[in-house]
């Protein structure tokens, strides 16, 4: 029996674990943690076997589907892209679950925690192996739901409850766009098929991709611009990705999502939630690459997010918030990588997913290390920390490795380097090529400045936390082995994964879209009107070395400022630039207080108040008019029989006279 036949178990086992842990967890050891751990281990093993099988036989992709309703289906599609994602998600999720056993040791509602993380993992795995966009949307929403539950895990804290709401509502904006994209796509396919097709499932990826040229041929007028339906659909899909993956301007929920347990942050930031947006774009990349306008938008927005979030990360004092902005920034790089499809064609998927995987390793590790520090020390304000390295050597070393990987240390031109270096530099180089080709230099500038800031903020974090002397009184101890073992494993992956896979990875992912039998690069060039570069690597040497030089510069500057304290860049609290960045560009003020409260909330309530008053007036007017009439007419009812008799006689007489007159006239 081929291993692909077990693919349905990958999301099903965590789902079962969710049910079991949720209802029976209280009676089990460690709050039922072993059930999801076992289930996810099995999912991981199946995913890994499928991936290994695909590596040897690239044509044995898993594609199964059953009828759902109408022209829709439920199905599994595991091609190289999905296989890699499945393996990564189940692996990172597994490690985080193991780590959680130690981290959540003292929490009373452990069963709920493990049940919800199992649901989270299940929905993400389901999202990855969906073979049609509708099923993907269902799991997409499930991911949103579980993130809401977990961010608000400590729902007793008002800040956690409001952060959960914020995350849910902000991503909802993206979800609505995604849904709108699906609806437009559906109606287009409906028109192309001339009704429901008989022998094809409508929203299956295969069908979608096969009809790209037709969809691209349709166009609509929007604000006087001629926009192809393909551009519209891809932009809406990208809107969904913006919400889920925390791109500007829908990134506001991500830093607040820190209110959940640190392990949840690790799950959200590394494995299960934010990667969904990038995955959506990668999954439907044949559509994106045929819509050049969308790719430009993605490149600009991704690059801008990378820089924008990095500037905020550099002034934050909260350990977890620095990491949160770092995630937004890194997601920007992934989006930027996808936007590079305009110059490197379908290889952009490999480029971006490679960074996604590496990022998952080192960002999960960063969060787990931060969680370890918080668990031991009890604070996550970096100003109160310092010198933790002596107390927690394993945590310090693993976090240093993660930091090196995030900042991108390695030797350019070779395959020696941390995972983050190999993937991020590839994206920055692609951005350079993009600039050279299309003279859009801004994404490259964003990316390269972002790289410098990345190095600066992560080493600032490391120096402030682990070196020097403690700034407040605290006692720490190294975390238990259930926490350190996952950290060490992740550290090994952050360090070596890239080196072992760098060449293989893009070749492997290059086979992703083979199942649709189209030359997508040709399709892209014909629809997108751009030239693809067929050989890379002829960049000037300085471009290759610049990211590393900037990373080292970031390291040195932060070393001098925060460790040796010879440089003093400290500015007064009232420095306008500092205030602007520290207050996060006043996004909260602008978006929440300015827009959400002032415009939406108050505007809506004002409008509703007036509408309500109008309706009230109409209803009251009708009511009181009728009452008045009743008051007037009721005096007719005297209660005296004779009056009624008189009225009857008068009426009859009148009738008789009328009849007479009418008869005369006729």
């Amino acid at each position: 029996m081929p291993i692909g036949d077990f693919a349905f178990l990958i999301p099903l086992l965590p789902a079962l674990a969710f049910v079991i842990t949720f209802f029976l967890g209280k009676k089990m050891y460690a709050g039922g943690a072993l059930v999801p751990i076992g289930a996810i281990t099995l999912s991981f093993v199946i995913s890994l076997l499928i991936t290994l099988n695909l590596l040897q036989n690239p044509d044995q992709i898993v594609a199964q589907s059953v009828d759902w309703f109408g022209a829709f289906n439920l199905g599994i599609l595991i091609d190289p892209l999905a296989a890699v994602m499945l393996t990564m998600v189940s692996f990172v999720s597994l490690l985080i679950h193991i780590y959680s056993v130690g981290y959540m040791e003292h929490d009373k509602s452990k069963p709920r925690y493990f049940a919800e993380t199992a649901l989270f993992t299940c929905s993400m795995l389901g999202l990855i192996l969906s073979d049609n966009i509708l099923q993907m949307f269902v799991f997409w929403e499930l991911v949103g739901l579980s993130s809401y539950l977990l961010i608000g895990f400590w729902y007793g804290k008002p800040s956690a409850a409001s952060a959960a709401k914020k995350a849910f509502l902000t991503t909802r904006i993206g979800d609505v766009m995604f849904l709108a994209g699906i609806i437009i796509l559906f109606s287009d396919l409906f028109a192309i098929f001339n009704g429901f097709p008989d022998n094809a499932y409508m929203l299956q990826f295969t069908e979608m991709f096969n009809h790209i040229p037709e969809i691209a041929g349709m166009s609509a007028q929007i604000f006087g611009f001629e926009v192809s339906h393909l551009t519209l659909i891809t932009l809406l899909f990208f809107g969904g990705a913006v919400g889920k993956s925390g791109q500007f301007p829908l990134h506001v929920w991500l830093p607040d999502a820190m209110e959940g347990p640190t392990t949840v942050s690790a799950l959200i930031h590394a494995a299960t939630m934010v990667t969904a947006g990038v995955y959506l774009v990668a999954r439907t990349f044949p559509m994106f690459i045929s819509a050049p306008d969308t790719l430009i938008v993605i490149a600009y927005l991704g690059g801008f997010t990378a820089l924008f979030a990095a500037t905020m990360a550099i002034v934050m004092n909260d350990l977890k918030r620095v990491l949160a902005y770092s995630t937004i920034s890194q997601l920007g790089y992934m989006m930027l990588g996808l936007g590079m499809g305009a110059v490197i064609g379908m290889e952009a998927v490999g480029l971006s997913i490679f960074h996604l995987i590496n990022h998952a390793f080192f960002k999960a590790l960063l969060f787990l290390c931060a969680g370890s520090v918080i668990h031991a020390v009890g604070t996550h304000d970096m100003r109160e920390l310092g010198g933790v390295g002596k107390l927690m050597p394993i945590t310090a070393i693993t976090m240093l490795i993660a930091g090196l990987s995030l900042a991108g240390f390695g030797i350019p031109g070779t395959i020696i380097g941390t995972s983050g270096f190999l993937s991020k530099d590839a994206i920055i180089e692609a951005a350079f090529l993009f600039g050279e080709q299309s003279h859009n230099w801004l994404p490259y500038i964003f990316a390269i400045v972002g790289a410098f800031l990345t190095s600066a903020y992560i080493f600032r974090l490391l120096f402030m936390t682990f070196t020097g002397k403690p700034r407040t009184d605290y006692e720490g101890h190294e975390s238990p082995s259930s926490m350190t073992v996952p950290m060490v494993i992740l550290a090994a992956f952050s360090l070596f994964f890239g080196m072992f896979t760098t060449g293989m990875f893009s070749r492997f992912l290059g086979d992703t879209f083979n199942f649709i039998n189209m030359n997508l690069n040709e399709l892209a060039t014909s629809l997108g009107n751009y030239e693809l570069l067929h050989e890379a690597g002829h960049e000037p040497l300085i471009i290759l070395w610049l990211p590393l030089i900037l990373a080292v510069a970031g390291l040195l500057i932060t070393y001098l400022i925060y460790h040796r304290r010879v440089l003093d860049f400290s500015v007064s609290r009232n420095n306008p630039v500092y205030k602007l960045i520290y207050n996060r560009y006043y996004q909260n003020e602008i978006l929440t207080e300015g827009f959400a409260i002032k415009v939406v909330y108050e505007g809506l309530s004002l409008a509703l108040y007036h509408i309500d008053r109008g309706i009230n007036w109409i209803v009251n007017a009708i009511g009181s008019a009728l009452t008045e009439a009743g008051h007037m007419f009721r005096h007719v009812q005297t209660g005296v029989v004779q009056n009624y008799a008189t009225a009857i006689i008068a009426g009859v007489s009148l009738l008789a006279i009328l009849v007479k007159i009418i008869m005369e006239v006729i």
Partner: protein, 104 residues
């Protein structure tokens, strides 16, 4: 001796006069018993009409109908007086203006 036949219009005029007296009584009188008497007057004016037309048309049906009407009038009078007796026991008077409780 056969009296010369009284022409039909005379009967009709008599009937109208009786009916109008009854009507006027209903509309103006306050006493319940008088009211019932006026109702009887109106009924009987109808009877006159019926008999007159019956004789004029040589059709017995009209006279049969009158018998029904008389029986009906008796029944009606019985019920009417019954009601007035009950009312009188309640209020010791049968002035109709006092019985206006079914009003606004």
């Amino acid at each position: 001796m056969i009296l010369p036949a009284i022409p039909l219009p005379f009967y009709l005029i008599l009937s109208t006069v009786v009916f109008s007296i009854g009507l006027l009584g209903i509309m103006t009188k306050q006493n319940g018993v008088r009211l019932l008497m006026c109702v009887e007057l109106m009924l009987n004016s109808a009877n006159i009409n019926l008999v007159a037309f019956s004789s004029y048309n040589n059709d017995i049906t009209g006279q049969v109908f009158v018998l029904f009407t008389i029986a009906l009038a008796a029944a009606e009078a019985a019920i009417g007086f019954g009601i007035f007796m009950a009312v009188y026991r309640m209020k010791y008077r049968i002035e109709l203006n006092d019985f206006n409780i079914l009003r606004w």
